[in-house]
Amino acid sequence: MKMGWRELIRMKQRFTLMAIVTTLIVLLILMISGLADGLAYDNGAVVRNLPVEHVALSQDAEGQLTRSFLEQTDQPAGTEALGVQSMVLEKQNGTKDDVTVFASPVDTVYGPKELATLKPGQVLVDTQYAKQSGTAVGDTITDFRTKATFEIVGTVSDGRYSHAPVLWTTLETWKAWQDKMKTNYVSAFISQDPIKTDLATYTQQQIVEQVPGYAAEQNSFQMMRIALVLIGSLILTAFFYILTMQKMKQLGILKAIGIRTRTIGQGLVLQVFLLTTVSFAISLLLIWTIGQLLPGDLPFRFEWTTSFGYGGLIVLTAMLGGLIPLRALKKLEPADAMGGMTG
């Protein structure tokens, strides 16, 4: 151990270079994962933010909120009605955007608390959408199909569904809008507790997974994450393998003078562990800083637990990679490593 530590602190140039490369690899993994996680979160953000565990939909909805059509009279006890429908929104400047309307009772337990202050015809919009689209509190927006108008009176954070911004409003406004479309339905009944009903019931996570495009997107992200961790680990493994193999002659001399393979091996493992752990800590700090500096509309999500998960995996695989040369070290014949004694 002592020998490994001394090499680490005295061969600074070599190990600093290695630490930089390791840090960059881990940073790349955390960065891409953060973006993938951000996109994944963004896709079902509005549903994730609802503090409910159980959702009842119509039997043929296949778990999709926008495909469920329920009579409010069928509302099971202890639940809250939720209206969800996509809308083509026309702004004051004449441009159009796809949004999803979410509606809850004015005295909602699960929706945004700001709904309590809304009057008929008023809506809340996603904060990021408001910034990007140039709409502001006080603006009036129009549903392109029904020409119903809504006044923006506030914003909500993380209000996105299937990557589209969400408009939150009350069921009263929802019904008025429905009347213009000559329909009369709500989309879901939601509750924190299990729902006793003949309707199809889902957990919140299942609803998120059924958000249009979510599953396909996640499969791609998952493959990307696996490939990243795998490639990163392989690079680090090769890296540490080469590091040790370069020192084989020196290690052979040590074995020749009677130093145990275990003594040498412990030093090597300590180096790999410290190098990857320190690099991981630096990457973590960098990725957190980057997360703070990135523009809010960029779907980037930093989570300590996820980052520690990836980091732990990288440290572990790098350690395993570092162990491979120990086999070569164990088999190393000191006589073979000693170039001088060949005459």
Binding site: R6, R10, M11, Q250, A256, G258, I259, M338
Partner: protein, 213 residues
């Protein structure tokens, strides 16, 4: 102290040592000379337990080493045999004192490395890394490292080859002192005829055979 009886060493079809027998006693400084490829280093590696002979017997203090385990051989290399190499082969990131401590600690011993280096005229060099030492100083640290566990057999493979004459004389003087004053058996490979005057005996290798001159 160490005895070889009818030792042969073969690599595949090539026989490197032919029927080599010799004995080295306590307190002897023996030179091993001969042209390159004559088998000197193979002989030294056999004596240093870095190889096992294809046939024949090696005895250390009367005990045959044929059945000694790998671990037993390692322990003997650590405690009973000191190695000195042509290019010192010090660990580049350890100070002179730490080079000695590494070997001593591996044998479970605690030493005053600075005091031991003082004996070799390196008292003020104990905190220096190898790159900060001259060639002669590096070789003296290597000798101090080889002797740190007080081995009874010292094997040196051209220890003066990379040194100027003055430093080479110092190294040979140190080795002679170890043999004559401390009773160690020292076997030195050398190509430098001038160093033979320090030795008690000269063994000549030629085409894998050993002759005493």
């Amino acid at each position: 102290m160490i005895k070889m009886t009818q030792v042969e060493q073969t690599y595949g079809e090539m026989k490197v040592l032919h029927d080599v027998s010799f004995e080295a006693g306590t307190g002897e400084l023996i030179a091993l000379v001969g042209p390159s490829g004559s088998g000197k280093s193979t002989l030294l590696q056999l004596l240093g337990l870095l190889q096992t002979p294809s046939s024949g017997m090696i005895q250390f203090d009367g005990s045959p080493l044929g059945d000694t385990s790998d671990e037993g051989r390692r322990q003997m290399r650590l405690e009973e045999i000191g190695f000195i190499f042509q290019e010192s082969h010090l660990v580049p990131f350890l100070t002179a004192a730490e080079q000695l401590e590494l070997v001593a600690e591996e044998a479970g011993r605690t030493i005053d490395a600075a005091a031991q280096l003082e004996v070799f005229g390196l008292g003020d060099r104990s905190d220096h890394l190898p790159h900060a030492l001259s060639g002669g100083e590096r070789q003296r640290v290597a000798i101090a490292r080889a002797l740190v566990n007080d081995p009874r057999l010292v094997l040196a493979d051209e220890p003066t080859a990379s040194l100027d004459y003055s430093n080479a004389q110092q190294v040979m003087e140190l080795l002679r002192k170890q043999a004559h004053e401390y009773g160690k058996t020292v076997i030195v490979i050398t190509h430098d005829e001038r160093m033979l005057s320090y030795c008690d005996r000269v063994l000549r290798m030629e085409d894998g055979s050993l002759n005493e001159t």
